[in-house]
């Protein structure tokens, strides 16, 4: 066991909303320094990736992503839409190519405007998203973290909590089927500590509201997370939810959604991520004993160039009537790739966890990796879980032996211009 792992007492997961890897971090691959790629290990963009539009004209990726008002209406990310994005309308059946060529066509179904449909190919240059790109280059960036299902939020977030969506591929209320328990309930049953920190009551929790009724003690707010970091009273496992809507604060001020779900402001999400990092980093005892995973629930319909790989099938099948594609889904391939970064003082600067580009050396992660990691690390793997979760890769082995010094670490100051 490494020093980093033996010092680890807390795992914190922050799950953002609806942005693809290439959209947020693909621009890292285009940064040059002294005539060379500055980040050669990042499996980002070459600048030549393209999709055909509805006029069959090629549309290249472009560095013109905007913080807000560009992806309105919200890009489609329900199961049939993502099927079109990945397979570009190839007929159902064996051997369909995951060409990643249908994103522009699918966004046209939302916009009915050819020019606007091109916005789905936009990406941020690293200077536009300084928090995420700094964390990605300073700690461990996963080249191969995928959403669990080629579908929307609710079913994907279910994988982060239960290691399965119990057969759901949509946004419907799902039944929790025994003997599978959430990772929080597993922790409590074993005498461990776990919390879900939602932003505030006006934002609340997103998809496991059954726990809000049945296990209210596991919930707390963002303010409590900040206090728990300062007081070194974090639970062993924490899951953080950003603010999901614009609303007035208690004193009448403006609270912006920080989840980065289109059409919410990306910069507000950057501030939120920075505030979580700062809270952990701000207390040396917490910093030394905590690993923070920043990950996105799914790609939100936005372009990514990496074809989702196969995965261990879940124990469920979604019928054709549920997928709305004319074919059932056996949970045997993953959704579109998303940003994921693991942060700890015990991670070397510039660590890249290889993805599908590494062939046999690939390490593939998805949201079932979260409960799998929690269960393996805190509970020695002792829990009933699906085949999918049991087969999921875990990620804490990335922590090494050397703790980085403070003068080698980033710090974020909020409110600058």
């Amino acid at each position: 066991m490494t020093v980093g792992l033996s010092n680890l007492k807390h795992l914190v997961v922050l799950m953002m909303e609806n942005r693809s890897f290439d959209h947020m971090l693909g621009g890292l691959s285009l940064v040059m320094e002294n005539g060379q790629k500055k980040y050669p290990g990042v499996n980002g963009l070459t600048g030549n990736e393209w999709n055909p539009d509805t006029n069959n004209s090629p549309v290249k990726v472009n560095p013109n992503a905007k913080f807000q008002s560009q992806l309105d209406p919200d890009p489609d990310h329900h199961f049939p839409g993502v099927d079109l994005q990945i397979f570009n309308g190839a007929p159902q059946g064996a051997g369909r190519e995951r060409s990643m060529k249908g994103f522009v066509k699918d966004y046209f179904t939302q916009t009915n405007n050819v020019n606007k449909s091109h916005n789905i190919m936009s990406y941020f240059t690293p200077d536009k998203v300084p928090v995420l790109s700094t964390l990605a280059t300073q700690f461990a960036l996963f080249n191969g973290w995928f959403s669990s299902i080629p579908g929307p939020t609710i079913c994907n977030r279910a994988f982060a909590h239960y290691g399965t969506s119990f057969g759901q591929v949509g946004m419907d209320i799902f039944d929790i089927l025994a003997p599978i328990m959430s990772s929080y309930e597993r922790m409590l049953a074993a005498g461990k500590t776990a919390k879900i920190y939602y932003y505030d009551q006006q934002s609340s929790t997103m998809e496991i509201v059954n726990l809000l009724k049945n296990q209210p003690q596991i919930f707390a707010t963002y303010d409590q997370f900040i206090s728990d970091c300062a007081a070194n009273t974090l639970p062993q496992y924490s899951f953080i939810e950003p603010c999901y809507n614009d609303h007035e604060g208690p004193g009448g001020g403006e609270i912006l959604a920080s989840d980065q779900h289109p059409d919410h402001n990306v910069q507000e999400g950057e501030k939120f991520i920075a505030s979580i990092y700062n809270a952990i980093h701000g207390n040396p005892a917490v910093w030394d004993s905590t690993a923070l995973l920043v990950v996105y629930d799914e790609h939100g319909g936005i372009y990514d160039h990496v074809a989702p790989p196969d995965c261990t099938p879940d124990d469920y099948q979604a019928k054709a009537t549920a997928t709305n594609t004319g074919a059932p889904f056996n949970f045997d391939y993953l959704g579109v790739r998303v940003p994921a970064i693991l942060i700890s003082p015990y991670i070397a600067k510039g660590t890249i966890v290889p993805g599908t580009e590494a062939g046999a050396g690939a390490r593939i992660f998805e949201h079932a990796s979260i409960p799998a990691t929690v269960t393996n690390f805190f509970l020695n793997g002792d829990a009933k879980r699906t085949k999918r979760e049991a087969a999921a890769s875990t990620f804490l082995d990335i922590l090494g032996n050397e703790a980085r010094q403070d003068n080698d670490l980033p710090f974020f100051t909020l409110g600058g211009h």
């Binding site: 913080f67 807000q68 300073q138 997103m206 998809e207 809000l212 209210p216 999901y244 003068n407």
Partner: protein, 79 residues
């Protein structure tokens, strides 16, 4: 003091828009919360349907007390 200091910009003024139409995700969230409330109310209704005068043994009484307390304790909690 950390050596790599990153200034995080503020969103532009005027970014706040609580009149923005709620998307499918937020509408779904309200449905999930409503479902949880229905289950919660059903629990309350089930307990209220029991006539306390019908409880004869300490075991029956303690079960009733446990169910009522669990509901009231949850209500009293601040998340």
């Amino acid at each position: 003091m950390a050596s790599i200091v990153i200034k995080v910009p503020e969103p532009e003024k005027g970014s706040f828009n609580h009149n923005r139409p709620a998307g499918k995700l937020l509408q779904s969230q309200t449905l999930h919360l409503r479902e949880a409330l229905i289950k919660h109310l059903k629990d309350i209704a089930d307990v209220l349907a029991i006539d306390p005068k019908s409880l004869k043994t300490e075991g029956e009484v303690s079960t009733y007390i446990q169910r009522a307390t669990a509901i009231l304790h949850t209500q009293a909690r601040k998340p």
